[in-house]
Amino acid sequence: MAATGTLTIPQKSKMDAVLVLRIAIIASLLVFWQLLSMSGLLYEDVVPGLPQITAGLYRLLTTTEFYVNLKVTAGEILAASLIGGLTGMIAGLSLGGSYFMERAFERYFYYLGPTPKIIFFPLMIMWFGVGSGSKVAMGAVSCFFPVALAVAAGMRRIPPILIRVGESFRANRWQMLTKVHLPAMREPVVNGFRLGFGVALIGVLLAETKLSNQGLGFLVIQNYQRFDMPGMYALLIAIFVIAVAVNAALGRLSRGGRRR
């Protein structure tokens, strides 16, 4: 209703029109959902109405269960991103730093990168147990490939003049790495980490939905099994909001580097 009200206001500028359209789209989606819920076309429990979902969200955010599991999942994602990111960065630096290494190994990274990582989960359980270890491993494997490829590509895109300046100052390998290479490729590296974080998050949460007894992924599947649909939708909304917020924050970090 609010959307139709604002539509009649004369458009002051392009920005307002965009904003109005966005609000209209969101509002119509919400109305569509509510009508679908009330229509009875699908079982009512499957598509709960907006009030029930809001109540579910309130319930979720006021119980400690959510925060305990959030902490577990956040810890796993962080560990996975650190392990996968650092190993990926080392692999990327050695791939990007030498033409020989690039030709010898990069194709394997390139083709293994986009394969579905979750199918390795049974192996991770065998190697690291059913607890947090296997989830961290799952996330780290997912995170490794995009970071390695992004760092390797970033290293090749460094302007040769920067490297020549470093060499003319007789910088040693370590100095070249910390003073020339890493600062020059900050943007691709941060972008690689952002991609890596995104897939690490997916890896950890999917692993939790498959087999676990803690974490947000486990909560989702528990709500599904209890058929607590408002709770499940609320949880999915919360996970998406967190994922998008972190992704946006990391994106700002990489753009911040460009401006400075």
């Binding site: 965009v18 499957v46 394997y108 986009p114 192996l123 949460l205 999917l206 499940m232 998406f240 994922a243």
Partner: protein
């Protein structure tokens, strides 16, 4: 060393051959470590056993029909992605206001963990192929829509002006000028979209234990058939790699020479 330096084939492919040799040596090392029980043979099977298990999973586990089930799901998803994604990208290009309002959303969707909402489709469609296809379509859509939009927006103004000088209608303009000029970009989008769809098909199959190749890994792992599990995982990885390579070749082949 001197013979290596003189042989033109070896000299040309030295890095690739070294890479392959290192990987083969890695497998031999694992074989050795497992045989001497330094690596637990119950957790890591011998690579040679995994190799032998390939024949078993092909013969005993109907891997071909399983592969066809997965391929059918991925194919259906790909067709839906193309049928929804290309018109969506075209619509966004045609209506600038809509584009301004939703372009960042679609880009955000490409980065969002879409596959996580599989329980939602599980509730709506049950454990059926449509749950798998729905997730795959959602995952494949953003790249197709974005690259269609990008391709149409990047059509050279000279081409558009030529069309105008022939007084083409909007419809003719699209089919004779815009669409052919944007095809390379649309193909890239379709390739990426299909890859995303395929990854998600296999992943969701594994997660909900339904369909073709995904459940095979589950079953073998639950039977504690370690060589079989490793072999099945390798098979899925090989299949995805073959699809990537074929798609890449196809795109290069279809791309018109400028």
């Amino acid at each position: 060393m001197s013979t290596v330096a003189r042989d033109p084939f070896l000299r040309r492919w030295a890095p690739e051959l070294t890479g392959a040799a290192v990987i083969i040596c890695g497998f031999l090392l694992i074989e050795l470590l497992v045989r001497t029980a330094i690596l637990n043979p119950y957790v890591v099977p011998r690579p040679s056993d995994v190799l032998l298990a390939f024949e078993r999973i092909v013969v005993e586990e109907q891997i071909l029909s399983r592969f066809l089930v997965t391929a059918a799901e991925a194919g259906t998803a790909a067709v839906l992605v193309a049928l929804i994604g290309i018109p969506l990208g075209t619509l966004l290009q045609g209506v600038p206001l809509l584009r301004k309002a939703t372009e960042t959303w679609i880009a955000g969707m490409a980065a969002a963990p879409i596959v996580l909402i599989y329980p939602l489709f599980l509730v709506i469609f049950g454990r059926s192929p449509w749950t798998i296809i729905a997730i795959a379509v959602l995952a494949g859509l953003p790249p197709v829509a974005m690259l269609t939009l990008e391709g149409l927006s990047a059509v050279r103004p000279a081409l558009v002006d030529t069309g105008r000088s022939f007084r083409l209608s909007r419809w003719q303009m699209f089919w004779k000028i815009m669409f052919p000029a944007a095809l390379p970009s649309i193909f890239s989008g379709l390739r990426i979209g299909l890859i995303f769809a395929l990854i998600n098909v296999v992943g969701v199959e594994f997660l909900i234990n339904f369909g073709g190749l995904g459940p095979l890994i589950n079953e073998l792992a639950e039977r504690y058939d370690m060589p079989g599990t490793y072999a099945a995982i390798c098979f899925v990885v090989f299949v995805s790699i073959i699809v990537f390579v074929v798609m890449e070749r196809l795109e290069k082949w279809l791309r018109p020479v400028r």
